[in-house]
């Protein structure tokens, strides 16, 4: 089996997305396209905004669930390399929660692979997310649209 070309990290601490993107570009001279995506913790609701998220995880099992998604993306698109950094623990509103980078010779492969990775990270990864607001905390389950997003890739 070929070596995995995706760097994967679960981070307990805030990460510098610009530094990660710059490091990802290094050594990507063969790539004709580099797509990067950054997800941040949003307010969700203007009247009752999210203050932070807490992401619970099982270190080895959660990492393995991300590796399976990365392997599927590598099998589907001719990626030169990819990168997934995901926060765990407490993440404040406005902080980065996920970084995805995909480098390929052609832009469509890089775009599609990044889109695919995010759709599966949003619904398949072994993470449990709790939204913390001023007066309550709620565990979140995937929304129907998260499953719909994933179904786009079944054909």
């Amino acid at each position: 089996m070929a070596a995995r070309r995706t760097i994967i990290e679960l981070s307990e601490r805030p990460f510098n997305a610009d530094a990660i993107a710059a490091a990802f570009r290094q050594g990507s001279e063969e790539a004709g396209a580099i797509v990067t995506f950054l997800g941040q913790v949003s307010r969700e609701d203007d009247t009752d905004p999210v203050i932070s998220l807490h992401l619970d995880h099982m270190p080895d099992t959660t990492l393995a669930s991300i590796e399976r998604i990365a392997d599927a993306a590598e099998a589907r698109w001719p990626l030169l390399k990819a990168c997934i950094v995901h926060r765990v623990g407490t993440v404040l509103r406005g902080e980065p929660i996920v970084f995805v980078g995909c480098a390929a010779r052609h832009r469509r492969d890089a775009f599609e692979a990044a889109d695919y990775l995010m759709d599966f990270l949003k619904s398949e990864v072994l993470l449990w997310k709790k939204e913390i607001r001023d007066d309550r905390a709620d565990w979140i389950e995937p929304r129907p649209e998260d499953y719909d997003d994933k179904k786009r890739w079944e054909s």
Binding site: L55, D60, I97, S123, W139
Partner: protein
Amino acid sequence: MRICFYGRLADLLGSRSLDDAPDNLTDGAALRDWLIQNHQQLSEGLTHPGTRLVLDNEITDWDAPLSGAHDIAIIPIVSGG
């Protein structure tokens, strides 16, 4: 027998793990039944259809035997990232 819980289940239990499950529970279903009887605060979470058994870092069916498993965990439906 040490059982670990994650997400909502850990909140319901008020702890990451418990150690009081007897060693003679044969499979996941027996463990779930024992937990519902002895830790009733977990009932709602354990009967959710998305709740799964994890043995040695592999998600398995509830009828999987517990013998030989070093790490036993019960996880709620995942939220994704």
